[in-house]
């Protein structure tokens, strides 16, 4: 058995970004099949235009429309592409100096082997048929390659609004591992047990157990099996709907101090109207059917009232 539990995790979000006047002008150009550069304080023309001049630090305000041809200034071969790159087969990234510009632009060149690209080679833009005003609206091909379709007819989209926002999706994949202490907790849940660990220095019982006690900076060690019954120390009523919500609001998310633990566990309180949940209320874990158990806190569906008398405030006030 592996020392720790592991699972794949994808973290993804589509960022919407406002473009401002400089990048907005650049992206509007790309949408309309035109390469737009910016003139720097030393007279050089840069593609993409930077928002601020790298030398004078003044805003870039002068734009230049450029042809869609250029020269490879440097290149590399991507032998093992990763997700999100312009091609899912080997291709070249290159620094390309657009004709009439002085500063190279990083982009992708569609060639089938590293033999087909070299420094000084002429390349031209291959525009995407559907363009949104983003740097992904194009790739480059060798100038010698005939294009299947004629290039779009320049600034035909000038009647459209300028591009003021772009969406830049981010998606990152991880193999996520629990710590050895967390792994023990999750393996316990798969057996219907709630496991905590005791800090060897301060003797506090943590659930879930931790890689280090935040008071003493040492790993929790001695395993403690905890009661499935505990006390609500504090709670909140969720009234706000959000993406991915599984329960209809209003409902209660609470800290439950399991009998024998020194740290409360966060979980749901159901089987009782939200406005009747209170501090000190005694609750018990309600488990899903055994055949649905995995290594997850979701094996406990929620906590429900035990109908015992409420706990005295003094019994949990040190755990708030």
């Amino acid at each position: 058995m592996s020392r720790t539990l592991q699972a794949p995790v994808t973290v993804a979000f589509d960022y919407t970004r406002s473009t401002g006047p400089v990048l907005g002008r650049f992206f509007t150009g790309l949408r309309d099949a035109t390469v737009v550069g910016g003139r720097l304080s030393d007279g050089r023309v840069a593609v993409p235009p930077p928002e601020y001049d790298p030398i004078s630090h003044q805003a870039v305000t002068e734009f230049v429309e450029l042809p869609d041809t250029g020269t490879v200034t440097s290149w590399t071969w991507v032998s093992e592409p990763v997700a999100g790159q312009p091609f899912d087969r080997p291709f070249a990234y290159a620094l390309i100096t657009i004709d009439g510009a002085d500063v190279p632009w990083l982009h992708a060149v569609d060639v089938s082997s590293s033999e087909e690209i070299e420094t000084g080679m002429k390349v031209r833009v291959k525009w995407a048929e559907e363009r949104t005003g983003a740097v992904t609206d194009l790739t480059f091909v060798p100038d010698s390659v005939g294009l299947d379709t004629p290039p779009p007819s320049g600034s035909s989209g000038s009647t459209s609004d300028p591009v003021s926002r772009i969406v830049t999706p981010v998606s990152l994949d991880y193999q996520y591992a629990a710590s050895p202490e967390e792994s023990s907790f999750f393996r316990g849940l798969a057996e219907g047990r709630i496991l905590g660990q005791r800090c060897p220095k301060c003797q506090k019982v943590y659930v879930p157990p931790r890689g280090a006690c935040p008071t003493d900076g040492v790993p929790t060690a001695e395993e403690i099996e905890l009661s499935h019954v505990g006390t609500v120390t504090t709670f909140c009523v969720v009234n706000v709907p959000f993406l991915g919500q599984k329960i209809k609001p209003p409902y209660v998310s609470a800290y439950v101090l399991l009998d024998g633990a020194d740290i409360a566990l966060q979980h749901l309180i159901l089987d009782i109207p939200a406005d009747e949940v209170r501090m000190g209320m005694r609750v018990k874990a309600v488990w899903k059917p055994r055949d649905e158990w995995v290594t997850s806190i979701e094996n406990i569906s929620h906590f429900a009232p035990t109908d015992e008398p409420d706990a005295d405030f003094d019994s949990y006030k040190h755990h708030l």
């Binding site: 032998s79 990234y93 772009i166 990152l172 050895p180 890689g211 280090a212």
Partner: protein, 356 residues
Amino acid sequence: MRDVAVVGFAQRQMKDFDGSPSMAELLVPILAECYDQTGWSKKDIGFWCSGSSDYLAGRSFSFVSAIDAIGVLPPVNESHVEMDAAWALYEAWIKIQTGEVDTALVFGFGKASAGVLRRTLSMQLDPYTMTPLWPDTVSLAALQARLGLDAGLWDEAALAEVVNRSLTDAEKNEYAVRAGGSSVSELLARPMFADPLRKHDCAPVTDGAAAIVLAAGDRARDVRERPAWISGIAHSSDGLHLGTRDLTVSGSAERAAAAAGGTAGVQVAELHAPFSHQELVLRSALGLVGDVQVSPSGGALAANPMFSAGAVRIGEAAKRIWDGSADKVLGHATSGPALQQNLVCVMEAAENGRAK
């Protein structure tokens, strides 16, 4: 200015770490080593500062769970940078200069193996014009390497010489992830990975953590016979856009070295060069000429733990002062694509204006 020295250093560098990206369980023994070296407990630490990245860990506020390893109750004086721990060290050095504290413990950690590192690092690029193309760090370094090849500033044999020397030196480093020199001709016979770079030209994906202890004046003298006094420390950055800077030179490294008081008399320089040609760029920018010993630990080509590799360079350099084998050393850290940001820390056996 107060006299501040590096007096403690512990590290781990490994191929992959079978545990949580919070890395608390890796930091606990490293911090214990720092206490062993100094004879201190956590009560002796005036300020804590860490370097790490949420993008590497794949979750937000990832440093919060890692600081459990410090023992943060009752609350401690603590800060964090989303940079290599070398920049956390810079912050801690300033904190000591303010006179508010006399000691600091700086640490960095990162589990690069949790994702696809060269892809994850695309998140540090311009999010409008670069990240949407997902140019990976290896490709960007390869574009930089070819610019120098085409300009005749270096050739492939020069890159292989850097690799061969690094991996030979790494044989003596117990933390090296990759070690074992061969020969320039054997290295040049290996296949291209990101033309013109071969895999050995690129730092290995490395998980790891490091911790460094700083102390001022008498607190430093209490710990070490020869503390590594920081005689100059500075950092600088080049622009975000790769196109608008000359990638074959490093203006920011040159400015940082000048601001740190220059490199004259440096005997050992630990450089954070994750790609072979970047060592050549840095040697030139930092003015390292003659018989300066470069990265005797094996450097980043032997192991490159994200967010602690720069701090490791400072720690490795400081050790050469402690053991008496050098009187003036340099630790360097880099961050960002193609050497965008650079930090230089010069350390000496002698305190400011006093005899050795």
